[in-house]
């Protein structure tokens, strides 16, 4: 996993070196000043040297300075915007998980009834309607027409509602579909029939046996969800003008702030790998079959 991270960062670095033009393409700069800037940023050194220096820096958490905002370190800029993005993201996930689980569980318990079909339809729509359609939709209906929530910027808690909502729809749908499938499969298992044969009440069977087994695989959804959140934040922050990491990233692309682009990409990659790691660990803890290697008689 660390290997993958290493490769990702390296590749990103080299790609950024391919970027056309130089970061300081502003015509107003005289060649002399440009040369000075180059030296300052170490851009005049051979690529391999730059590479080594860069990797060493990254390992220490130093992602260099933004080319656009000259004196500001990329790492600091990212971390500064992190809380907003995280807040909206985590709120979306929590909400999505809760609603998704309820939807999925109800659908499974009322399999082949109206509720089941309804839940499946909602879920399919949820995964098909992208955030960049949903966002404006929410802005229009809940924001403009009904005036319930603000549609841009981030001044107080209320401002986070619509962005999180927009993000959460996909989460709700994915989780609901997943849980429904898992539960249906578990409910058909022998051990559930045995639990019933023990004379346990329906509720007990579901709470103690079905749910536990059905929820465990949910952990595997973590990594894809993280990717979704990352890319989703790019969209949502644009639409709702939220000052988060995503918006900053898009901005840096527009102004060709290569250092920032590179730095944020590295950050995203780290986040993703981190999520994978946590997913693996969590799975190992939750599932007793993995936690305790089978010791047969």
């Amino acid at each position: 996993m660390l290997v993958a991270l290493f490769i990702i960062i390296s590749v990103t670095f080299f790609i950024s070196k391919l970027l056309p033009g130089t970061p300081f393409a502003d015509d107003k700069l005289t060649p002399h000043i440009r040369q000075q800037l180059f030296e300052k940023y170490g851009l005049d050194e051979p690529v391999t040297v730059q590479y080594v220096k860069y990797m060493a820096n990254v390992a220490q958490g130093d992602l260099g300075n933004s080319f656009y905002f000259e004196s500001r370190p990329v790492t600091q800029m990212i971390l500064q915007r992190l809380p907003v993005s995280m807040f909206i993201g985590i709120q979306a996930v929590v909400f999505g998980l809760v609603v998704g689980m309820v939807l999925g569980i109800v659908a499974a318990l009322r399999h082949n009834t109206v509720w089941d079909t309804l839940a499946v339809v909602i879920a399919i729509i949820g995964v098909s309607v992208p955030t960049f359609v949903l966002g404006p939709l929410l802005q229009y209906w809940l924001g403009l027409k009904l005036g319930l929530f603000p549609i841009a910027f981030f001044e107080s808690y209320k401002y986070s509602v619509l962005p999180s909502l927009a993000l959460s729809v996909f989460v709700v749908s994915t989780v609901a579909r997943f849980i429904r499938t898992e539960m249906l499969e578990v409910m058909g298992q022998d051990y559930v029939t045995l639990a019933k044969a023990k004379g346990l009440s329906g509720l007990a069977v579901i709470l103690r046996h079905v749910l536990r087994n059905a929820l465990i695989p949910l952990v595997t959804v973590m990594a894809p969800l993280t990717i979704y959140l990352i890319t989703g934040s790019l969209v949502v922050e644009q639409i709702f003008a939220v000052p988060g990491i995503g918006e900053q990233f898009v901005q840096s692309v527009v102004v060709n702030d290569y250092s920032m682009i590179l730095g944020t990409t590295v950050f995203f990659s780290v986040l993703f790998i981190f999520a994978l790691l946590i997913q693996d660990i969590l799975y190992g803890i939750i599932d007793p079959r993995i936690r305790i290697a089978g010791a047969k008689e």
């Binding site: 298992q189 004379g199 046996h209 465990i216 305790i292 047969k296």
Partner: protein, 343 residues
């Protein structure tokens, strides 16, 4: 082999069960009747598709509600018809009165719950035991079914047990509340032969100690010989012959039973003996035949066999069979050589 002690503890009459599937109505059980005596082991024998598992599960009302219909019949236990009890009353029956052991020990236990907990669940629910007492009892039960190191094992998960051990756990769970009836659905089919013998012996043992009456479902006559006192042979959703083990093995009266016996090696046989399988395959239960279901595969079939279902002919207090060959107007036939020799 526990013998009868006179009283009926369970009486099943004319049980009819159908499933509605995409292919139409499947009549799995079409008029099954039998009795279970106090303290005995009754074996229900049949091929897959004969309706034996469906019958068993119906007694505990464990069949999927959505597409199962109990079309008729009754199952009288302790003065009540099990088929008509409400779900709530049924929950009080399952466990303390009637318990079940399933076929595949690898899938019968919840993989995410400790083995001990799976036992104490039952104890707490039905016997109202406190946590500590229940735990102690669980350990006792594990010891009773022959699991070494029970103290340690009780805290382990199912995947840490082998197949045979898991089946013992399942038995422990079933017997935790000392039920009056234990239904064992092919309890040894998924196990190695040597383990099989151990499990059967365990069942016999426990039965004597606790005094449970056992319904043993199997397709294996060898298992029947080892454990049962009485046998009910099922085919095509009906009971075609019942009797004591001796009667069935030494004086079978129905061609299907003859076929079953001819297709297994008997200990008394000499090596020149053929194993004669029964040709053909079980009937399609979505379109069941009018008459005797065994007709297409029966070497002695007569015209009336395909048209009408025969009634039972009684041969002794326990022994009866349903076959047109017993009608006075039917020709006399000799059962196949093997069966004759066994006598």
């Amino acid at each position: 082999m526990a013998s009868a002690n006179g009283d009926n503890i369970l009486r099943v009459e004319d049980l009819e069960i159908s499933f509605s599937t995409q292919a139409g109505e499947v009549q799995a059980v079409r008029g099954v009747s039998f009795e279970l005596r106090q303290g005995e082991t009754l074996a229900i024998v049949g091929e897959s598709g004969s309706g034996k598992t469906v019958t068993a599960k119906s007694l505990m009302r464990l069949l999927p509600e959505a597409n199962t219909r109990i079309k008729g019949g009754e199952a009288i236990f302790e003065g009540q018809d099990l088929l008509k009890l409400s779900e709530k009353r049924m929950q009080a029956v399952r466990g303390p009165k009637i318990a079940m052991v399933f076929q595949d020990p690898m899938t019968s236990l919840d993989p995410t719950m400790k083995v001990g907990h799976q036992i104490t669940e039952s104890l707490k629910r039905h016997l109202g035991m406190s946590g500590n007492r229940a735990r102690e009892r669980a350990v006792e039960l594990l010891e009773m079914v022959g699991i070494p190191n029970a103290e340690e094992r009780v805290r382990q998960y199912p995947h840490q047990f082998s197949g045979g051990m898991r089946q013992r756990v399942v038995i422990a769970i079933a017997l935790a509340c000392e039920p009056q009836i234990l239904i064992a659905d092919e309890p040894t089919t998924a196990l190695d032969v040597t383990i099989q013998a151990q499990i059967l012996e365990l069942l016999r043992d426990l039965q004597e100690r606790i005094g449970t009456s056992v319904i043993l479902i199997t397709h294996d006559l060898g298992v029947v010989a080892q454990t049962a006192y009485r046998v009910a042979v099922m085919y095509g959703g009906k009971v075609v012959e019942t009797g004591t083990v001796r009667e069935i093995f030494y004086n079978p009266q129905m061609p299907y039973t003859w076929g079953l016996l001819s297709s297994i090696p008997l200990p008394t046989a000499d090596r020149s003996q053929d194993l004669i399988p029964i040709p053909g395959s079980p009937p399609d239960m979505s379109d069941p035949p009018e008459g005797c279901p065994f007709t297409p595969r029966c070497p002695y079939a007569m015209r009336i066999c395909a048209e009408e279902m025969p009634g039972y002919t009684t041969f002794s207090a326990e022994h009866k069979a349903a076959c047109w060959l017993h009608h006075p107007m039917a020709p006399d036939v000799e059962p196949p050589v093997k069966v004759r020799d066994a006598r």
